[in-house]
């Protein structure tokens, strides 16, 4: 009965009122969401920008010293918990060198519909740097290893050998033939890792006091602010569903034969 009322209200966009903020829980979360989205977006750009070239290089030239050191560093990267990376960066760049700020978002400007962005001010970028590097640091090694392993497997297949035999340029073989086929499993894992990424935003935002939804959630937990906790979990659930749908659509874009490919892989 109570649950029925909750679902009914939720469908109308009413997730209850936060005990602490005395405001509708959904409004509180939507207000903090831009900060988290900007952080995740910036981290994702870093993750893709670093792991794709590194992973491909490590697969194409497995015995090169750069590949070996990248693989060595990646196992170190996996072994350092994300909050420890954050603490280390804060100590180095904020406490010792005093170059970068260690908490908050800095100056923000209104963008659209109440979206306060830190991406328009230099101060905002300075504040964004350490948290996004921290958030990226845990995913980059994972993706380097994944891309390398998948790429090695693809490079060993008959159609890549055939492409070599046709005398195609190496760049074309690596990027068009091999990389496209590496992408499918990488996208799958990326979708799965999103859940972990949400948990890591909570950790990163806590370390850097980044005023996003992760920090908000943890504060709600310590304040036992039940409506806010429920609203957060619901919003995270919606984000999950939307991204997983997007991942499925991406499949089709990357590989038009997606159904055949899935049967072949099983």
């Amino acid at each position: 009965m109570q649950y029925g009322r909750f679902v009914g209200n939720a469908l109308r966009g009413d997730l209850g009122t936060s005990y602490f903020f005395k405001e509708p829980a959904l409004d509180v979360i939507l207000e903090k969401l831009p900060a988290t989205i900007e952080l995740v977006l910036c981290a994702s750009v870093l993750i893709l920008g670093i792991s794709v070239p590194c992973g491909m290089f490590a697969a194409v030239r497995p015995r090169h010293w750069l590949s070996r050191s990248a693989m060595g560093l990646s196992i170190l990267g996996i072994s350092v918990p994300v909050f420890l990376t954050g603490i280390l960066l804060i100590y180095l760049f904020s406490v010792e060198l005093n170059w970068l700020p260690s908490y908050g978002r800095g100056l923000t400007r209104p963008l659209l519909l109440g979206w306060e962005t830190g991406l328009l001010t230099a101060d905002g970028w300075l504040h964004l740097l350490l948290p996004s590097v921290t958030l990226a640091s845990i995913m980059v090694p994972l993706f380097i290893r994944l891309i390398r392993a998948e790429m090695l497997e693809v490079l060993d297949t008959d159609f890549v050998r055939f492409a070599w035999a046709k005398g195609l340029r190496p760049g074309r073989i690596w990027w068009v033939h091999a990389f496209r086929n590496t992408l499918l499993p990488v996208i799958t894992v990326g979708g799965v890792q999103l859940g972990t990424m949400v948990a890591y935003t909570i950790l990163t935002e806590t370390v850097f006091q980044w005023p996003g939804v992760g920090l908000l959630f943890l504060e709600a937990v310590t304040r036992a602010d039940t409506p806010l906790i429920t609203a957060y979990l619901l919003v995270v659930g919606v984000v999950f569903v939307v991204t997983n749908a997007a991942v499925d659509l991406l499949y089709g874009l990357v590989n038009p034969q997606v159904k055949l490919a899935q049967v072949g892989a099983a």
Partner: protein, 303 residues
């Protein structure tokens, strides 16, 4: 390098791989230190009588202003940091190993049943595993522990923090084992020795656990190392968020968290030294796991 096919082959291959050998040595040393903590630690950090708050935040012995009684300095509450790290290592390892033991028990049991019987049981169990896998472990753990903390008194929570951490991390990750065991079991059950055991009239339970399971051991071993590393990281993260071990009985994560507050006043060692111990522990486990996977996996990547 040719992949060793059996565990005995792995033992002799270990002697040839320096990285794996060093990681094993580090891991064994850390485990020994954790086990012997009550005897080798200079101070009992759980005993309030042995602690003097006036000793708080003393730096390690090689930094000016230190006290020779405390080799690695003291934490925010005046506890000897070396002793606290030793006891913290104990807590982290207990939770990591305990959680993985629970995961393995649940996962192996479910995986063997699913793989051996197949059919509808298999389909149902594997859908259940998919559901569990779609929740991120850390996320589930954060929510569950937050609920526990909200439902029960702080005192109760502090007393049972260790057990609840093991339960939460243990239950959330069973599909990893179930899927691995099921995959091997599916391949093994079609082989002749299973057929032979069936012809001899052995019951399904005996075949599953005496014949099938021993032949699925090597993948279990490989994921176990990675799972231990993940469980230790998860515990540290939860304790850092204040949802894990209480500061009166700190694990390495809780110690790092308590040191984070004093980082800005210059007391770096309270976070850094337990952090170093934690990274060393996880790195050793990960390196061993990597080596184990390369050695036991027939689909070995040369590289």
């Amino acid at each position: 390098m040719k992949a060793a096919s059996s565990l005995s082959g792995a033992a002799s291959a270990l002697a040839q791989d320096k990285v794996a050998l060093v990681s094993l040595a580090i891991l064994l040393t850390l485990i020994a230190m954790a086990l012997l903590a009550p005897w080798i630690a200079p101070q009992n950090p759980y005993d309030p009588a042995a602690i003097d708050v006036l000793d708080a935040e003393l730096p390690p012995a090689w930094v000016a202003g230190s006290d020779m009684r405390f080799l690695l300095g003291t934490d925010t509450q005046g506890r000897d940091l070396l002793s606290t790290i030793l006891y913290g290592l104990r807590a982290s390892l207990t939770i990591g190993l305990g959680a993985v033991a629970l995961q393995a028990m649940l996962g192996v049991l479910i995986g063997t049943f699913a793989g051996y019987f197949g059919g509808r049981l298999d389909a149902a169990l594997m859908r259940l595993a998919d559901v569990q896998l779609s929740f991120s472990t850390l996320m589930v753990a954060i929510v569950l522990l937050a609920l526990l903390q909200g439902l029960f008194s702080t005192e109760w929570y502090h007393r049972y923090a260790l057990v609840s951490l093991i339960l939460v991390i243990g239950v959330a990750e069973w599909p990893q084992y179930a899927r691995t065991v099921r995959a091997s079991a599916l391949a093994e059950r079609k082989k002749e020795y299973i057929e032979a055991a069936r012809v001899l009239g052995f019951g399904p339970l005996r075949i599953m656990f005496r014949h099938l399971l021993p032949n699925c051991l090597s993948p279990i071993l490989v994921i176990s190392t990675l799972q231990v590393a993940n469980a230790i990281i998860a515990e540290a993260a939860l304790s850092f968020l204040g949802l894990g071990m209480p500061i009166t009985k700190p694990s390495l994560g809780a110690l790092i968290s308590s040191g984070f507050e004093t980082l800005f006043s210059g007391a770096w060692w309270i976070s850094a030294l337990p952090g170093l111990a934690l990274v060393l522990l996880i790195l050793a486990v990960n390196l061993l796991g990597d080596w184990l996977r390369d050695t036991l996996n027939p689909r070995h990547y040369r590289g």
